[in-house]
């Protein structure tokens, strides 16, 4: 049996026994690949499943080693919403993520356009600086930034130190958009110019409509970045519980509820769910964006 399978390719002469071997080989490969696929699917989904099941357990059962709830306590979610501050964190997160995304997209598009389509001295240098900024951990400049926002402008305890910089372009968004705009043929830009469009009108009328998928990807990434951000709120908002975001507040849940893993897991589900919902509505744009980050030159 294995000998048959290992025999080197007999496809040159498509006689029927060879064909049958090939077909059997294909069927076996199908089974092997899909069993592996199922195993991988379990690895990727079981953590979600266990988290969700635990979030529905009663307080006493959550202390046990049970895997499946005896009674389904949907009220746990109500209790999470009733936790003081939870709705405020939700609102803050939406403001940070929403406003931040709009500002980032608006301020990054013209920069990405200039880097992709204008010819000027220092363009390559600028692009290299953009990539460098993209690669740097935020901790590198956090001390002076914190002193600037907190000591000089008195804005600690708010999310403004995180939102305002987004009006001045974000390196990752600029880079991603630039990669996308590079794929738009120059002829379209030139044609618009011949028709008498200025640079600004060319950008608005011709380039932006063509770049919609790229812009959607950037907006999604930025939204998720703000949603997930822990370090930023930790630095600027920690002292004022009314300025906390979900990602930052979530951790305090474990503190408040000690061993009540059920409530902590319900809160975890509530922080994960919006991101996953958004993903389902915008799957294509997202995957396209991830692929773009790996594009060579």
């Amino acid at each position: 049996m294995t000998q048959v399978l290992d025999r080197p390719v007999e496809l040159k002469t498509p006689a029927s026994p060879a064909e049958r071997t090939a077909r059997r080989k294909a069927a076996l490969e199908w089974v092997a690949v899909h069993s592996l696929g199922l195993a991988a699917a379990l690895f990727f989904t079981l953590p979600f499943v266990f988290v969700f099941l635990t979030s529905l357990m009663s307080d006493t059962q959550a202390l046990s080693r049970d895997l499946i709830p005896h009674t389904w306590e949907w009220g746990n979610y109500q209790r999470v919403f009733d936790t003081p501050g939870f709705l405020t964190w939700w609102r803050n997160t939406l403001i940070y993520a929403g406003l931040g995304t709009v500002l980032t997209v608006v301020s990054s598009i013209p920069v990405a356009y200039a880097l992709a389509k204008f010819r000027f001295r220092g363009r390559n240098l600028s692009l290299m600086l953009v990539i460098s900024m993209m690669m740097l951990p935020p901790q590198v400049v956090i001390i002076p930034m914190y002193l600037f926002w907190a000591k000089q402008l008195g804005l600690s305890g708010t999310l403004w130190p995180l939102i305002i910089p987004m009006a001045f372009g974000d390196a990752f968004s600029i880079f991603l958009l630039r990669q996308f705009l590079m794929t738009i043929p120059n002829e379209y830009v030139d044609a618009a110019k011949v028709d008498g469009c200025g640079d600004f009108r060319t950008l608005i009328r011709v380039v932006i409509p063509m770049a919609k998928p790229g812009i959607a990807a950037v907006a999604l990434f930025q939204f998720f970045y703000a949603w997930n951000d822990y370090f930023g709120p930790q630095i600027y908002a920690s002292e004022n519980q009314n300025a906390w975001t979900l990602s930052y507040g979530l951790e305090s849940f474990k503190g408040m509820h000690h061993t009540d893993w059920n409530l902590t897991m319900a809160a975890t589900v509530l922080v994960m769910a919006p991101v996953i919902l958004v993903f389902f509505f915008a799957q294509k744009a997202f995957v396209e964006g991830v692929t773009l980050t790996g594009v060579k030159g």
Partner: protein, 313 residues
């Protein structure tokens, strides 16, 4: 006459460029160049945020390298993560990418399932894993014990905390999977057919057709993985905090790196020095080390010839 219009045209084009670039030019100056220089300046000053900064020479530097108990453990952890976590992520990401290109039935469903964990917010994902792997009531250890495998202490055991973080990182492999998937689909099909005609085995086809074609992407994944490791902050911090049972708010007293400094990373040191010990000068020293390390790998990523991200066209 014509030279005048040419000059004015050139000036107008420079103005145009400046106008389009202006958001970033301001952002770069105010939020990057100035604070970076400032970080260098503070690294030579003694500053606690209350009394005005005073010159302290290289004191902060010698303190961080010779006396600060967290610096070398954090650097060692970073090295561990670079060697083990990054390489496992690349291998696993390539494997999952390969698997998804072979799956013919229900591809979309599989791809989505494999991708979703990548989207889980880091704090939420780490909390989830802290629960799944907790030695007391965690489902993973319950199952392991039922099967009869000795259950490790995961985030509560210094030898298992980094493997636990690695497991979390492998769970969120979606980004690499998509990048590898795109690269694998770009490999010219003729090359596989030619190799098959030559009687190449599956492994030989992978070794001599697939790998050479995707090697730039493998390199990209390795280098960006290393850069991400320099930024590794939220997951080790939350894992340590949750496992040690520290309550937020009283967080200034938190001893970082639980258990036994095994989850310390360089970004956590900036927080510990600057925002827990109010030693801004020493925090800036660590920030500069972080800067230097990140820049080395970024330069590697950008090398003009054979570089992975090409700047020009």
């Amino acid at each position: 006459m014509s030279t005048v219009t040419l000059a004015s045209k050139r000036r107008r084009s420079a103005l145009r460029t400046a106008a389009f670039m202006s958001p970033w030019l301001i952002g770069f100056t105010v939020f990057f160049a100035y604070p970076l220089l400032s970080t260098v300046y503070f690294s030579f000053m003694h500053y606690d945020g209350f009394k005005p900064p005073t010159w302290s020479g290289t004191k902060n530097w010698t303190y961080v390298f010779e006396h600060y108990p967290y610096f070398w453990p954090a650097l060692r952890n970073t090295l561990w993560l670079v060697v083990v976590m990054v390489s496992l992520r690349v291998v696993f990401g390539l494997g999952v990418g390969l698997l998804i290109t072979k799956i013919k039935t229900g591809t979309g469903v599989f791809r989505t399932l494999f991708y979703l964990p990548y989207l889980a917010p880091p704090v939420a994902a780490t909390m989830a894993f802290a629960f799944l792997l907790n030695p007391g009531t965690g489902p993973v250890n319950s199952v392991l014990e039922k099967v009869g495998i000795p259950a490790p202490g995961w985030f509560n055991d210094p030898t298992w905390s980094k493997p636990a973080l690695t497991l979390l990182a492998l769970w969120g492999i979606g980004d690499l999977m998509v990048i590898f998937m795109a690269a694998l689909l770009d490999v010219p099909q003729e090359q596989y057919e030619a190799a098959e005609l030559d009687g190449a085995s599956a492994w030989q086809r992978f070794r001599f057709v697939t790998l050479p074609n995707i090697s730039p992407i493998v390199m990209f994944a390795v280098v960006t993985g290393v850069i991400q490791t320099m930024q590794y902050y939220t997951q080790p911090l939350i894992a340590g905090k949750v496992a040690s049972g520290v309550i937020q708010g009283a967080g200034t007293q938190f001893e970082p790196g639980y258990p036994e400094k095994s989850t310390l990373t360089l970004p956590q040191l900036v927080y510990n020095l600057g925002f827990q010990r109010f030693d801004y000068g020493s925090a800036c020293v660590v920030a500069l080390v972080l800067f230097a390390l990140s820049m080395v790998f970024t330069a590697f990523l950008m090398r003009r010839r054979g570089g992975l991200i090409q700047a020009g066209d």
